[in-house]
Amino acid sequence: MKKSINETALFILMHLICCSTFAAAQSLSVRATVNQTQIAVNQQLAFNIELVGEGAQKVNPPELPDMGGYLTFLGSGGTSQNISFVNGKMSVSKSFSYYYLAVKAGSFTIPAVDVIYDGKTYSSQPITLNITATSSPPATVAPSSNQSGIGDGDDLFLRAIVSKKRVYQNEPVFITFRIYAAVSVTGYAISAAPSTTGFWVEEIESPQQPAAREEVINGKKYVTADIKKIAIFPTSPGQKTLGPMTLQCEVKVQTRRSRDIFDSFFDDAFFGRTTSRVISSPTVAIDVLSLPSEGRPAEFDGAVGQYKITAELDRTEAKTDDAVTLKLKIAGSGNIRMITKPKVAIPTDFQTYDPNVTENITRESSLISGEKIFEHVLIPRFPGEQRIKPIRFAYFDPEARQYKTAVAPELVLRVTQGSSTFTGSPQVGLGKEEVQYVGQDIRYIKLSNVRLLPVGYRIYNRFTFFAAFLFPFISIAVAFMYKKHVDKLSGNEAYARSRKANAMAMRRLSRSKSLLEPGRQKEFYGEVSNALVGFAADKLNLSKAGIISSELEQAFKSREISEELTHEYVDLIHFCDFQRFAPTNGSKTEMENSYQTAKQVIVKLEKAL
């Protein structure tokens, strides 16, 4: 591309040289200049911002002032930088140049331009412009003596042809910048590329010498050429704008017809005089739709377009520790660069490495296509049939307006045992302590069988387990009672006698029963009497010898024995004593009666006590 020399550039250059000589001061200074302060509507204005001094080369392009509707921005003329040494002193200057078009008549002051460097703000002087109404036609823009007839905005303009104005996020928009010229353009240069904030850009290669065509607009014939093509992918939803592209054109000056043969000789592109014009494409508004949330597959990760997925292993059989390559290829059209690796369920028996990713993108005028290849190296560690589950890749198809999922079928790898064995021998990576056991065989079986138990035998499941725990309680309780008893026996005679009374009485009574015969009346009654007296004496702890009935009655009374029982008891004793010494033999039934009564009164007395 030919870049022609430009008056303005020359002007800047001149200026810079001038400035640099003043750049003795080390601090930064900012100066704003225009090429003319008297300007007519539809005329162009060059606006320069110069930075001189320390740090000038590091300053970012300043923010442009608000032109208040008098001037519209056409484009940037670029940045130039100059470093010079004067008397061994380095001076640096940097210049930004911009082009504006006057659109409104009036007096207007370009406000000061602020440059922030190193935390300090440096300002330029405001510039006052006097914009006159379009009294003169555009033809007189540069009223040079023999230069006239440079076309207005209509005879040279730049258009941005947009493939689509409403797209989904990540769906490409193809933009063609086409120049329309009714004048002869001898050269052009892109002075400012369109600003593409919010987009991700794929440049489509255009031919070195764009093909020129003819096009008629409103009856006017233009020569057109596509000078730049780009594909832009909006990265977020919303209203997005693509900034203008600025083009600097060399336009051949329409000289007046001259009969001078030499003039006409020079009146061609090569020798003709040219002038520089700056044209800009309009800004393009693009409405970006967000991707629908409904029906979004879990695997979806931002891919928009049309894709296919294939997965293959470089072999179907492998030995353990062989390297196997899994090649995963996603091919299609869309935002291929932004595709992320789909999830691959690699069995854990594989040692894996990060995949090697390669991209292959073809950019055509209306299609960005290509493929992205993920190559995984897998090392099977164990023999057996290893399966890699189907790999799913989800994308949004903007044509069909829905999500789709491409699936690569399941892969099977048969792994056989390689030379290095894992099974059958101890594994590598053993601890220091474990190494001593490596290669050792197990110890021999036990030859004697000790005691066989039922399988799953648990003592605590048995009844005996709980019964066993009752044993100490019972035995301790029994022992305790026995101890109490022994204590009483040893410490209390009355208690002992009382305990023994019953047994003694019963013994005597049973002896008397054997005497229950007519001839042995005296002995019988004697035994019964003894039993009765002995029992009462033992129970009440009285001396048995010489006990008399009055004493018994007294004792009974003190123990609160009923009078009836006392009488019964004492009367029986009296009766027995009487019968002992009676001369006549009593009848057997009488003896029987006495025996039964004696038994009854003893039981009664026992209860009463």
Binding site: P347, T348, T423, L430, Y437, I445, L452, L453, R458
Partner: protein, 249 residues
């Protein structure tokens, strides 16, 4: 078939205990002659009779080991250890078998106090614990009774001084035994029998694979759902696997 005949013969000719002894000797004989699968059949038939001992499990584990069935070998060694903890042979062979496990699962690091506690708790098998406690209880009972009937004050005091720590030990023993019984009832350990099994995130055949386990790994069963069991490893990993892939110790 041969096994059946042996059992039948044994049933006719011998009592149950002698029959088991006979099978044990048969198993040992087969092992001696390197006929490991024969040996396994003999030992297994003892178990099928509902009889066992640490030796049966140990010998069976050995036969499985020699027969290259690592998982089965480890299950039986573990069972043998439950009946006879601290048996050197069983511990040694289990260790050798564990060296052949593919997965290296990091055992969690315990502090000293915890280790001491564990070693006290697992000094004895459950049945040994039970019997020791029982004898201790009888001793204590006898001493309590004895001290009541001793006339000599000095001797009585000595007996009482012995009794106090014994009672303390007994109560501590009952406490530990209770813990062991609870563990025995609630904790189910198992060993992986399949050469490789995929552990998945949920009890379903098509669930996501979390990790893989190989034969011989000891796991704890913490849940069960249909044909799947939820397992946990000593390093804390957990997941589901088909119940058929493992055998409970």
């Amino acid at each position: 078939m041969r096994k059946l005949i042996i059992i039948l013969l044994a049933c006719i000719g011998l009592g149950a205990a002698n029959q088991a002894d006979y099978l044990f000797q048969q198993g040992n004989e087969a092992y001696k002659n390197n006929q490991y699968s024969e040996a396994i059949t003999h030992y297994e038939s003892i178990l099928r009779m509902g009889k066992t001992s640490a030796s049966v499990y140990y010998n069976l584990g050995n036969a499985y080991y020699k027969n290259n069935q690592l998982g089965k070998a480890i299950v039986n060694y573990e069972r043998a250890l439950l009946l006879a903890p601290h048996d050197g042979d069983i511990e040694f062979n289990l260790h050798i078998a564990q060296l052949r496990i593919v997965d290296k699962i990091a055992a969690p690091e315990f502090d000293y106090i915890f280790k001491v506690w564990q070693s006290i708790k697992y000094t004895l098998s459950l049945n040994q614990w039970m019997l020791s406690l029982f004898f201790l209880m009888i001793l204590i009972t006898l001493l309590i009774i004895l001290q009541w009937f001793i006339k000599n004050r000095g001797v009585q005091n000595i007996v009482r001084q012995v009794l106090a720590p014994l009672a303390g030990i007994f109560i501590f023993g009952i406490f530990l035994f209770g813990i062991r019984v609870r563990e025995d009832i609630s904790i189910k350990n198992a060993v992986i029998l399949e050469q490789k099994v995929n552990v998945v995130s949920e009890p379903a055949a098509n669930a996501t694979e979390v990790f893989a386990l190989h034969e011989g790994v000891k796991v704890r069963i913490i849940d069960r759902s249909g044909n799947f069991v939820r397992i946990r490893l000593s390093d804390g990993k957990d997941g589901w696997l088909p119940a058929s892939a493992l055998e409970i110790i």
